[in-house]
């Protein structure tokens, strides 16, 4: 029996652990090693050069610019997305007309809204990027957005959305928000549905209006879910690779105004003379920033849990 147990454990773990070790852990460790070399497409031999790559990164304006764009995304995108998600979830669950003696009521057709809002979540980033590229098309007759603005007489607002360095990044962030709000509406709705009706009733009896109820009852009780949502959104904002690579003019342009760190890594590794060592160092820098973000979020969101 004992013998059989260990054979079983090894038999079941062998394949997944081997796959994981070879394709995930070993590249992860190698990344640190490569980041200390001058390895590039031009020099097939690896030479250890210490922390030179990191020093170059620190003095590289493009890196800081790309990182700044990621930080901007990290600050703005989760905030807007989560706020909209909470707002719509509250509308769906508590915003409806009261029927009979129910203390709170969801709007009619809440299920339908949730289905539609969730659409972008199941689509690939590629689909979303290509679609929005067409919507943002600068041609006033041709792009959906510019055409719409023209039709309602707001010709002055017509823009070269992705071609103007001052708004290109904001346009891409808007798409990020657009595609992620639905997820949080569904997530927060589930959270709100699990808040017992009696709590709302008590607030109602105490004379709280709906807005007070939202800020004093719903939001504090959803704190954990919101914190988790923040981490998820932060991971998405730290990436941004696919959207920027597919939508922006010239891969991070115009004038690097939309470049993000993952895209910089990709370009460093697979273009620009394939500077593998440098790209690996950017990867390590990214890991550090990501971990910092995760630790900070967990620190800020730690608090006693309210059980109900």
């Amino acid at each position: 029996m004992r013998h059989g147990k260990y054979r079983f454990i090894i038999g079941f773990l062998a394949v997944p652990v081997a796959l994981y070790a070879v394709l995930v852990i070993s590249p992860f460790i190698q990344d640190f090693q490569i980041s200390l070399t001058d390895w590039s497409g031009l020099t097939p031999e690896k030479h250890y050069i210490g922390l030179d790559n990191y020093q170059k990164i620190i003095h590289n304006n493009l890196f800081w610019k790309a990182l700044w764009h990621n930080v901007l995304m990290l600050l703005i995108v989760p905030l807007v997305t989560l706020a909209l998600g909470l707002f719509f979830a509250f509308m769906l669950n508590v915003g409806g007309r009261r029927k009979g003696s129910a203390s709170v009521a969801g709007v009619r057709g809440a299920g339908f809204y949730k289905i539609v809002y969730f659409f972008p979540q199941v689509l690939s980033v590629t689909v979303i990027a290509v679609l929005w590229e067409q919507i943002y098309n600068p041609d006033p007759d041709n792009g959906l957005l510019n055409n719409l603005l023209g039709d309602v007489g707001l010709t002055s607002l017509q823009q070269s959305w992705l071609g103007d360095p001052s708004i290109a990044l904001a346009c891409i962030m808007a798409v990020m928000v657009w595609s992620n709000v639905g997820f949080y509406v569904v997530l927060f709705s589930a959270g709100m549905a699990s808040i017992p009706g009696e709590i709302y009733e008590a607030a109602l009896l105490d004379g709280a209006g709906r807005f007070v109820t939202f800020f004093r009852v719903t939001l504090p009780l959803l704190r954990d879910t919101v914190a988790t949502g923040w981490v998820y959104m932060g991971i998405i904002a730290m990436d941004g690779f696919a959207l920027v690579q597919l939508m922006s003019v010239n891969n991070g342009g115009p004038n690097e105004s939309t470049d993000v760190v993952p895209l910089l890594l990709y370009k460093t590794a697979f273009r620009d003379n394939s500077q593998y060592g440098m790209a690996a160092a950017i990867g390590v820098a990214m890991l550090i920033v990501t971990l910092l973000f995760a630790v900070l979020t967990l620190r800020l969101s730690r608090r006693e849990r309210i059980e109900f």
């Binding site: 059989g4 260990y6 079983f8 079941f12 773990l13 997944p16 994981y20 070879v22 995930v24 990344d31 490569i34 509308m91 769906l92 669950n93 915003g95 409806g96 007309r97 029927k99 009979g100 003696s101 203390s103 009521a105 969801g106 057709g109 809440a110 299920g111 949730k114 689509l123 690939s124 590629t126 290509v130 590229e133 067409q134 007759d141 792009g143 055409n147 719409l148 657009w178 639905g182 569904v186 997530l187 589930a190 549905a193 699990s194 009706g197 709302y200 109602l204 209006g209 709906r210 879910t225 949502g229 998820y232 696919a242 993952p262 990709y266 593998y276 690996a280 390590v284 890991l287 971990l291």
Partner: protein, 311 residues
Amino acid sequence: MTTETFEDTPGPADKSPNQVAPKSAPDASAKHRWGGEGVVLNVFSHGFLVVWALMVAVPLLWALWSSFKTSGDILSHPWSLPVHPHFDSWSRAWTKAHMGRYFINTVIVVGFSTFGTMLFGSMAAYVLARFEFFGNRFIYFLFVGGMAFPVVMVLVPLFFVTKNLGILNTLPGLILVYIAYSLPFTVFFMTSFFRTLPTSVAEAALVDGASHTRTFFQIMVPMAKPGIISIGIFNVLGQWNQYLLPLVLNQGNTDKWVLTQGLADLAVQQGYQGDWSGLFAGLSIAMLPVLAVYIFFQRQVQAGLTAGAVK
């Protein structure tokens, strides 16, 4: 897409516990307050909800109906509906732009990799959840730690690892990479799922003489079905929509491309050739199957995708 349609659709929220009628009716003044506020708020909330629904649905519908127009029509009247629907752009996208081939490649890759992920992920998770042995915790945290780091970070070494193994630019290689990178979340979720299942059934099976392997496949897997379905859907969508990994690891032969690569390429090509309706047809080919699966299984999909956040 009118409000009337919404009204006909009773949603799950109508059954939410929020609405359980209280035993004693709230006092009259409060009722009055909320009643008055309710009407205004109801109009207000419906207004916002409808606007967002349109903002989500119209771009998608626009892509779909544009695929039935000619390129000239799309250029001159981007908003107009197709009066005389053309279907040739679809056949053009399917054959000339090879979206058909990419579609089949994607089905093959995602089919095998999701199956592999669920099989190996559940096997590892079951052992980690139910057996005590030296190194259990270590292996568990090794897997779970994988959720914390961004895949982009390891692009360079991963490229060379697959190259050295001879699986770069091959579909089996892509399948193996997808499985490996889907394991952390799958193991994490399935481990906690197996822990919630009762131990007595498996023990009874073992007493009756079933082997551990047989107990797993014939007793535990059927019991864990809800979890396997949720995470399976999560993996299908994640792998179907994967763009970064094929972009780097499946560059070589265009015959082996997956849908996301094909669509990205089509968007670039279209810039030179001006085949707008072909692009929208390609977009629809990539978009519709996923949306259809979602609408059909929407409850499970929503549960599967939010499972990670709810814990």
